[in-house]
Subunit: 204 residues, 2 copies
Amino acid sequence: MPAPGRPREFKDQRVVEAAVDAFLNKGYAACSAQDLCEQTGLGRGSLYNAFGNKHELYIEALEHYDQEGITEQQRILQQSLSAKERLQTLFEYALPFDFTDQQKPGCLIINAAMERGGMDDDVDRIFRRHVDILEQMIVQVLHEAIATGELPLPQSAVADTYVAELADMAMSSFYGLRVLNKGTQNPALASRIIRGTLTAIFGN
Amino acid sequence: MPAPGRPREFKDQRVVEAAVDAFLNKGYAACSAQDLCEQTGLGRGSLYNAFGNKHELYIEALEHYDQEGITEQQRILQQSLSAKERLQTLFEYALPFDFTDQQKPGCLIINAAMERGGMDDDVDRIFRRHVDILEQMIVQVLHEAIATGELPLPQSAVADTYVAELADMAMSSFYGLRVLNKGTQNPALASRIIRGTLTAIFGN
DNA sequence: CTAATTCTGTAACGATGATTACAAAATAGG
DNA sequence: CCTATTTTGTAATCATCGTTACAGAATTAG
């Protein structure tokens, strides 16, 4: 028994996905209601009726992108591969998003944090949560690598500390990779970053 | 013999520095001519007479910030310290810029690349140049570390390749640090990233 | 002094921003 | 069919955008 009234002519999720593209291409401030209407195919009336305002739609787009990204990263880092191969897969998974013929490629969450971090509590919250989860996943991968012997634990090192620091280094290098990819569009640099990061963690 | 006409009531460099602050706080799109006038203390007439338009002022601000940053990074990485200490100093030098009570802290060059990369040729050019220079400086540091034995070269490794990959990893981790600092405002995370990066390169 | 030149502040411009108002269209229940 | 309800598209609203026009102020050269 559907609610009374005229039924919607669109699926919310499709609209949010189109909004993701719009905000990826233009950023937040430079993305106008006009842009959003064109990308989503909705009229102003429908857009505002369904999503409230530009900021609410932005946050919905960000949360959707966030969820999709976390799910995919989880899938990659839980494959039955060696730790090194799993991290390599994570790093390489980003490349198609960063090297594309779209006008403004890259990662919406990083873009959001750089454009609006510190002045948008929703953005701050989503970014922090995203980072926390990725950090925990990489820690888990490296703990497994210690357990299997793939990652040797130095004599002087405390396992939890050692793993946490290496995991955060890997995560930082991953975020740096995204930034450098987008900014330089240099695949050779990306390749050296990936090899260097894996070498630094696991040795030759 | 100064040029005829009424003399300027401001120093160009001060204005550019004020513009840097304005663009750091608001980004490009969200920073209005009004904002720039307030931050610089100039009237619209003077601003447009002296700098042409918003985008030209933005690029001047970016180039100024770029130059200052490169100079400082050069100073840090050429100190007479061990390679590890120099890299640590570079990483720690960023912390006060990222953890500040300003509304929008961080690095203007990264912000610019994230907001306008791929759609602003001047931004792309400045970012690429900045990255190239930093990359070369880190490569130099690691080559010296190989020469002194501070950084052992694995049997199977080719020195130039090994150094290039580790240097790019360090640079990537540095950019990731900037992003994660700004987005999470988490000094404990920053500390782990720095220690993890140095450990991964130089060992324990 | 005058003339030429440059800078300054204010007002105005047309364009575009986000958002709202509202009438017409489309449905459900009765 | 009728009423209530929701969605849709368009027009309008008010604010702000980047930029320009321009009159007056401040300077130099002569």
